[in-house]
Symmetry: C2
Subunit: 274 residues, 2 copies
Amino acid sequence: MSGDASPSAAAPVAAAPALATSGVVADPLVEYLLRHGDDRLVLGHRLSEWVGHAPILEEDIALGNIALDLVGQSTSLLGLAGAAEGKGRDADALAYHREAVEFRNVQLVEVPRGDFAVTMVRQFLFDAYDVLLTEALQGSAHADLAGVMAKAHKEAQYHVRHSADWVVRLGDGTGESRRRAQRALDDLWRFAAEPTTPDDVDRAMLAAGIGADLDALRPRWDASVREVFAEATLTVPEKVLPARGGRTGRHTEHLGLMLAEMQIVARSHPGATW
Amino acid sequence: MSGDASPSAAAPVAAAPALATSGVVADPLVEYLLRHGDDRLVLGHRLSEWVGHAPILEEDIALGNIALDLVGQSTSLLGLAGAAEGKGRDADALAYHREAVEFRNVQLVEVPRGDFAVTMVRQFLFDAYDVLLTEALQGSAHADLAGVMAKAHKEAQYHVRHSADWVVRLGDGTGESRRRAQRALDDLWRFAAEPTTPDDVDRAMLAAGIGADLDALRPRWDASVREVFAEATLTVPEKVLPARGGRTGRHTEHLGLMLAEMQIVARSHPGATW
């Protein structure tokens, strides 16, 4: 797959201006692929922390399957990022041998899993975005990205049904489950806008026919999450200071801790299998 | 599924003598279903501990999928055990609300995951048994058990290819990987015999047409693992004192620790979803 990565997309991307992010002049295509790969890698790992600890076996399996979908998508996207970068780094090198400041995921996905309500509200906020993002990127001019996202879109449709069902079930459930779901939404809402907030990388990729139009996607995402939260009888916070910076490498301290744990095996034995 | 559990098998099972295990007179069918459900639940959890920590993303996903297969099988088998028991306990109740002494898994599956070599050698020892067990139990007179095992057999065929490949790759790999694989085999071999060692429960289930013939299965398992270890250039230990007791509730201290972690969420909030 890496050998013929995006020949169709090479020309417009090369023509796009190099962008300064975190002080490093970066190729916007590489940045773009890393962003979407990192979102899935980090969220997949957060979800997988539930495996073996979910309150019911069926949900343990469901969360595990969603985690594996996301990590699988990240493997493909990081592989494309490595190929586009052209420095010989593969998906594993990018996953296991970058520092937190080099990660390009939104902060939403790195927040600790919290309780089940936090996990599900966060998952729903992401899934509601992801199902629209993957739908749009199926039509990307970057053929390999389009292929990965077409498969991811099928998975995202299942994911968002699952997490939306849980949000409604928790919000419209017992007093305790409702209280926890509302608290989760209150805590997480400030992270909710970052995925649909475009910057120069997004605009360059949109102009090149590669990226999604986040300005068009944002109101659809907003309407869909508000509809589900209303059904869940949860109140969307009115005024919050939106968290930003994940896309350019500014992360909460939680990401570093997660990566330390995730990367220790690979880093302790470079090139080995444990 | 639970409503029509094994009508065909009810008569011979009822005729089988009740057995004393761990001081409790138990129904051999319930014991038998718990054994195979617990093996998969415990091993699935041990494997899932790797998710997010495997040295390569592809293997992270592969181990995660195998873990989910096993936990899925355990959910079915514990569901059948609960139905056969007739006390209203479902799979979740059996998974999350039993103490270690009530678990019926072999000790092999409860040993800590160790390094990647321990994980893979243990997995192979189990898979090589499981592929033969599930093959045999596809023909069980207990229709529901046969159905679960027919599906499990397809999965086990994949599992044993995967773990056998890894054992060969590790054993016949670098000096370090070979050293670790040999140490894993040396440490684990004493746990290897328990799954294929029949006791009164196995004999009662075999007589009822429900269970597998472990005496027939044992030499096939032994030949298949020795063949793979030979290809891996690993030496099977000659004399070890076999570990036993898991089937009747005698476990290593490791199981209690694993269960404490696995059960805490379900026990902290009975009936809730976190």
